[in-house]
Symmetry: C2
Subunit: 145 residues, 2 copies
DNA sequence: CAAAATCCGAGTGAGTTAATCAAGAATTTG
DNA sequence: CAAATTCTTGATTAACTCACTCGGATTTTG
């Protein structure tokens, strides 16, 4: 039940980009400094987010990254799925990537006790993360500083 | 966000013990066979559960394991905490094992965006797992077979 | 005492995580 | 055009975790 550094950094990076949204693009090292993320690691986080269509990038001297979508259109769940894969705590209750447990003795899904507990857990997690957008994320932050 | 094999096996093992509750004690290999768990691995799962006071054991020829508490007194959350540690997806939102993230730039807990999202996630997970007992676990199973 | 069972610590191989490095391609500035 | 800056991409790595595995000690029964 753990959130990876990758996802954590990814969310914090997107937060920085949200705060700058519309005004400027941000460069790797700016994001990295502000959020204390190792630059080279950040690099490999921004790439999949770009490929997923969340942000754009420009190379060269005045390059950098910027959000493509609006903050209220990007959910935390989306980001975590891109960086870390399915939200489900066990693959047999995943909706986006269902997979039978190889050694599970319960042929019938409905009768597997693990699924009966973990199904609702998956739904609860997804429900929160898929309804929490970058906008909310940034809002909480602004209130603080 | 993943449930370990250890916890999964632990829950399945406790299910077997619940089904046998009152009638007999079960031995490692019986549990292992019925739930298709490697015996030696099962061993190191049952031990901490014993130390936590969930079950008793007897050594020697007519030995085995049995539940100490009643199934409705043991929650899934408890079991997972014993075997895998805190439920929280990130230590800074854990209630049983809070720890500041070493590199988090947000001094004030209330203003950290990560905590604002993950706090509710932790609560939702704990709420489900701490209200789901072994009795429920076994009930779903019985209905099936 | 011998057989059968749990107890317990240590070890191991594969895989994942969190970075790090280096070479390359695009873009802008002078 | 050349140099500087920045993103792009793939490879590599060190540390750690996961899922077992093993060997030996202890306890109980027959």
């Amino acid at each position: 039940m753990k959130l990876s550094k990758k996802s954590e950094y990814g969310l914090r990076a997107l937060l920085e980009l949200t705060l700058a949204d519309g005004t400027t693009t941000l460069q790797r090292h700016q994001i990295a400094e502000r959020q204390r993320i190792p630059v080279e690691f950040l690099e490999q986080i921004l790439l999949p987010l770009k490929r997923a269509g969340l942000l754009s990038s420009r190379r060269g001297m005045k390059g950098g990254y910027a959000l493509i979508k609006r903050p209220e259109e990007i959910t935390v769940g989306q980001v975590i799925r891109i960086l870390d894969g399915p939200l489900a705590p066990i693959s047999c209750v995943s909706k986006t990537a269902y997979q039978k447990c190889p050694d599970c003795p319960y042929a019938n899904k409905a009768h597997c006790p693990v699924q009966q507990v973990m199904g609702p857990v998956r739904d609860a997690i997804a429900d929160i993360l898929d309804h929490h957008t970058l906008k909310d994320f940034a809002a909480g932050h602004r209130k603080g500083s």
